[in-house]
């Protein structure tokens, strides 16, 4: 019995000591020595490279260390982020999607009002307007997330193939279909798409509603004040996916190719048109230098009024700062970011969300594409960010069925209108 008592006493003492040591090392001492970071990154991409340069610079200046957690797969990242939000254990800095995820982080009080901080620092006005537009909260219009970079999207096309058949880059969707038909008739693969990844087909579905309504259709659809059945632009988007898929304009087997496969297929020399963006400039560099590659913006919808912005611009996965752990050191880091982020972006090979001149020595395509979106004020509207996860999952299945001809446009429309109503309790 005495032995048991002695053992218990030792155990209790050990536990108390460990707790004291733990408490001593925590932020209670008032001094922070590490900053924790969660990023949707592979550890070798532009996201990592940009932030690594910032963090290394900040460490050199202050001695503060950074603890990274990197997850490359988007779905896995979303799961982890969701887990951290629900368990109230978000790190100091974390990649966050503007929409349901940022709403949930905000609801737990773990999302800093980055806009207010940047305004205080005096850096907010130097941010690209379209990037700010992309990240603004749907409810209060405030930018809670720091942009990852300025990404622009456009169609790459093979100038040599187009020249061979006397084709010009299409400016309307009807011209786009006509061009595809000529290419198909001549045995070419008209369009390469990564149909296995949800967002690739969703882009085609949302191009026309975006050009015609910007974010009106998607936001109204979510709110229940508009639907596919009564919106002409949205119906035209449905028809477009159906036509491209069933008309064999996409490469054969497109639903089994993911985005990476599609990139490899196109830049490997197969296909005449591919929807990509500034993130692919390094892949496009060689073909562009050889004069085999050109770019064109998102075509207009014939017979409808289109907005002037035709190059989708977005900010990638936004970066959230944990409001609960935001202190003087974190403020110092944000000031450092505001000062050095633009430069770090260009070093990593992406456009800066801060309006600074493009440095010399970048790939030629960087300079040639920039004028296309230099003055854009309206951002891209990512349906995959705006829609709730359940609707997005159903939409991804339905648009595959639509493109494969397994679902008629009418059935797609009624199914999706019913799905969003059901998911929103209407």
């Amino acid at each position: 019995m005495t032995k048991v008592k002695r053992l218990t006493t030792i155990l209790v003492l050990l536990l108390v000591s460990v707790s004291l040591i733990w408490a001593g090392g925590s932020k209670d001492s008032g001094e922070r020595d590490t900053i924790t970071v969660l990023l949707n990154s592979s550890g070798s991409d532009e996201t990592y490279n940009t932030w690594a340069e910032i963090f290394e610079g900040f460490t050199a200046e202050t001695g503060i260390e950074f603890e990274y957690e990197l997850i490359s797969n988007k779905a896995d990242y979303m799961n982890k982020l969701q887990l951290y939000i629900s368990s109230n254990q978000l790190p100091d800095i974390y990649g966050c999607f503007n929409g349901p995820y940022s709403d949930a982080a905000k609801a737990t009080g773990a999302l800093l009002n980055v806009q207010a901080e940047l305004e205080d620092i005096g850096a907010f006005d130097s941010l690209n307007k379209a990037v700010v537009d992309f990240l603004k909260d749907a409810n209060d219009g405030i930018m809670y997330l720091h942009p990852q970079a300025l990404y622009s999207e456009f169609f790459f096309y093979r100038t040599d193939i187009f020249a061979k058949y006397g084709l010009e880059p299409p400016t309307t969707w009807q011209e786009f279909i006509d061009v595809c038909q000529v290419l198909l008739d001549n045995g070419e693969v008209p369009v390469v798409v990564g149909g296995k990844d949800n967002w690739q087909l969703t882009r085609y579905l949302s191009f026309i509603p975006w050009r015609v309504t910007h974010d009106d259709f998607i936001m109204d659809w979510i709110a229940g004040t508009d639907d596919f059945a009564s919106n002409e632009a949205a119906q035209a988007g449905v028809e477009l996916v159906r036509t491209l898929g069933t008309g064999n304009y996409f490469q054969r087997g497109f639903t089994s190719s993911d985005y990476t496969d599609a990139v490899n297929i196109f830049f490997g020399g197969t296909g005449a048109i591919f929807y990509g963006g500034s993130g692919l400039i390094p892949n496009a560099s060689k073909m562009y230098a050889e004069g085999k590659l050109g770019v064109f913006p998102v075509p207009s919808m014939d017979g409808m009024e289109n907005m002037s912005t035709d190059i989708p611009i977005h900010a990638g996965v936004g970066i959230g700062f944990n409001a609960k752990t935001y202190d003087a050191t974190m403020r110092q880091l944000l000031e450092y970011i505001a000062e050095h982020y633009g430069e770090a972006c260009y070093h990593a090979g992406v456009y800066s969300p801060y309006n600074i001149p493009i440095p010399e020595g970048m790939d030629q395509l960087f300079y040639d594409v920039y004028p296309l979106f230099e003055n854009a004020e309206q951002s891209w509207v990512s349906w995959d960010d705006k829609l709730d996860a359940a609707t997005m999952t159903s939409l991804a299945d339905a648009e595959q069925e639509l493109a494969l001809g397994m679902l008629s446009p009418e059935d797609f429309i009624s199914q999706m209108d019913a799905t969003i109503d059901s998911n929103n309790g209407r």
């Binding site: 629900s86 639903t255 089994s256």
Partner: protein, 295 residues
């Protein structure tokens, strides 16, 4: 030793640790999932009790669910054919071989030790359409049009291709188990049958297969349960697509819970998987017991 094992307290000492671990990991998890299946919960904010609403939706409103249940049963049948029947046939073939047996055994077993991700990558490249994969390249030698045959993206074939990939990966494992059982059949039984004039087929059907029946049943149950809960190959190879044509119950559960953020709904799917597995196990056991009694 016998005396010690007769004491209830000693028996408990042996059983209890495993029982506690099993209860914590399996029973508690199932009970927790069962509880969550009555909630409308996105995994982030607080859940709302909705009674049997998730089950009602699943059984009566979700048009995909029954199609996916059908896919899962079909997939299970394919797996039983590939893994159990295929493994058994190859094992019988190996017992008849005099040369190269070890080399063939090793070759058949290699897919078992290769990771599923690698196997799926290999199959993705094999069945690729653009750029043309190995299968289509070979087929195009016979007919140029066959270069464009779709496999993984064909709604009518994607389930079969996924089943083939999983069968290819695991049949070597069951082949080894069957082979070990077959070579343990006493030689005297075979010799007696031969003296009685039994041919090779009769020896297999009347002597060897009945002798290894417990092994066949064990493998049947393992493959049956494994296939009902199959996840990785279908998820990695086709993502359940195109649309839901190669979707199985377990990836569907994952999709609902983690992609759609419908934890309650995903948990309801999980509970139906548990019930289906238990039902199948009970039915199989009853059939076996009935069969044994008849014998």
């Amino acid at each position: 030793m016998t005396k010690t094992l007769n004491k209830p307290s000693d028996i408990l000492t042996f059983i209890l640790p495993a029982f506690i671990v099993f209860t914590l990991i399996v029973i508690v998890s199932i009970a927790w999932v069962f509880g969550v299946s009555f909630l409308d919960w996105n995994g982030m904010t607080g859940g709302k009790f909705v009674g049997f609403n998730n089950y009602r939706q699943l059984f009566f409103e979700d048009s995909s669910y029954w199609e996916i249940v059908g896919n899962t049963f079909l997939y299970t049948i394919y797996e039983l054919l590939w893994q159990v029947l295929g493994g058994l046939l190859v094992a019988i073939f190996l017992t008849r071989l005099r040369h190269f047996r070890s080399i063939l055994q090793t070759l058949y077993y290699i897919p078992v030790v290769i990771s599923t991700v690698a196997i799926c990558q290999i199959f993705t490249k094999f069945f690729s359409v653009v750029p043309s994969g190995v299968i289509n390249s070979v087929l195009s030698l016979f007919n140029e049009e066959w270069a464009y045959l779709e496999w993984l993206s064909n709604p009518n074939l994607s389930l079969e291709v996924a089943a083939f990939a999983e069968g290819y990966k695991y049949f070597g494992l069951y082949m080894v188990i069957f082979y070990a059982a077959l070579i343990s059949v006493p030689q005297e039984l075979e010799e007696a049958a031969r003296i009685d004039g039994a041919g090779m087929l009769t020896q297999i059907m009347k002597i060897k297969l009945p002798y290894i029946k417990p092994v066949i049943i064990s493998n049947l149950i393992i493959v049956l349960n494994g296939s009902m809960r199959s996840f990785d190959v279908s998820y990695l190879l086709t993502k359940g697509g195109p649309a839901n044509t190669s979707q199985l119950l377990t990836p569907y559960m994952y999709k609902q819970a983690f992609n759609s953020l419908k934890y309650g709904y995903g948990s309801a799917v999980a509970i139906t998987i548990v019930i289906l597995c238990i039902l199948l196990g009970v039915v199989l056991q009853k059939l076996i017991i009935k069969d044994d009694k008849e014998e």
